[in-house]
Amino acid sequence: GQGSGSARPQPLEPSLLRFLVCPLSKRPLRYEEATNELINEELGIAYPVIDGIPNMIPEAARTTQKQPPAESSEQP
């Protein structure tokens, strides 16, 4: 079954990159495959991709300013 504890994180559907922008600034995002995140460089925030689904709620994003540990965000 598709549990939330899957070993290999599902990557983002590539076709989504055509449409997705930061919900706050409406500016383009960079997909970081290594951490499976969508990064808004300008605002310094990263939206997680969980089970292949990008979580584009601002509260779910983490800031990228400092060097936070590369862990998947907690689900709110």
Partner: protein, 311 residues
């Protein structure tokens, strides 16, 4: 129950003609503003939280409950919505609050069958070709069974999306379908991207409907269509009374028996009563900039489909 039609609706009826000055997260600014949750008065922040919980609780039983409450008729309403849309292959659809995928799957089925008919037509016109040529022309289209049609399902609720994704896998939908966790009031999509925007039985649960409508306008391509399927108002007095009886006496009981959750279904019924009637919603849609706005009542107004264009 009829006494529930209270002044709270005035809050929703506030029409915002002015542009939003800031593009920052609305929730931060408006957390304290008063609004309603069913017949209760709550802050906007509380309302969002409560609604999130409602759908978190009902997600797994959502489809079963829909069938029970509407005696399966919701399927017909959704069929009608997609038929009204009449999408041609190549259409890009954004289905907001589309959680469990009902509209998305119907869209895919529809464009698939249109596409099949196109291919059959094409083959019929190739009567003079050799088998080799015919089979080659069929091969080209083999990997394009949806004709480049795509649907993005956007929902604010993780549990609903999870159910939707599982359903998709179960039913064999994968091509041309993607899922995004996002807020209708603050969509994570670029301007002028989609041919059609649908929101079926979702707009009622949005706290700032005006913002959701503005966002819908923004992400649609010029010429794009907005379609909203939602519970609405019954003007026929006899039907209205029967509907009230059914809503307030039967539905929460079904909710308790089937989903073990009376309160969520009490909310559902109250939220339907609080939602603007047909003409008012039409005006709100026009306020967002849509043109040729119209609505179609189904079942004497129990449900209505509103349509508008970005022209």
């Amino acid at each position: 129950a009829a006494a529930g039609l209270c002044p709270g609706r005035a809050l929703l009826a506030r029409r915002r003609g002015a542009l939003r000055a800031l593009r920052c997260s609305v929730r931060g600014l408006a957390a304290g503003r008063e609004t309603h949750f069913g017949f209760q008065t709550v802050t906007e922040a509380e309302r969002r939280e409560k609604i999130y919980q409602v759908f978190e609780n009902v997600a797994k039983k959502y489809d079963v409950m829909n069938d029970s409450m509407t005696l399966g008729i919701h399927r017909v309403w959704k069929d009608i919505l997609v038929h009204k849309m009449n999408p041609s292959p190549g259409t890009l659809l954004l289905d907001v609050a589309g959680g469990t995928g009902d509209i998305a799957f119907r869209f895919i089925n529809y464009v698939r069958s249109v596409r099949e008919r196109q291919l059959q037509q094409k083959l019929r016109h190739h009567q003079n070709l050799s088998w080799q040529e015919i089979s080659e022309s069929y091969q080209e289209d083999k990997f394009n069974l949806l004709g480049d049609s795509q649907v993005v399902v956007c929902d604010i609720n993780k549990e609903m999306l999870k159910v939707g994704k599982q359903k998709a896998q179960h039913l064999g939908y994968s091509e041309g379908l993607s899922w995004v966790l996002g807020n209708a009031e603050e969509l994570p999509f670029d301007d002028d991207k989609f041919d059609v925007y649908t929101i079926a039985f979702g707009i009622r649960n949005v706290t700032r409907i005006d913002l959701a409508l503005e966002e819908a306008y923004r992400v649609l391509k010029p010429g794009g269509r907005f379609l909203c399927l939602e519970f609405s108002h019954v003007s026929n007095p006899l039907l209205s009374r029967l509907y009230d009886l059914y809503s307030f006496q039967v539905i929460p009981v079904l909710g308790e028996v089937i989903a073990g959750d009376w309160k969520s279904y009490q909310y559902l019924v109250e939220s339907i009563r609080r939602f603007p009637p047909q003409e008012e919603l039409k005006a709100m849609i026009e306020d967002a900039g849509f043109l040729k706005v119209d609505y179609q009542n189904l079942n004497l107004g129990i449900v209505a489909i509103h349509s508008g264009f970005k022209l």
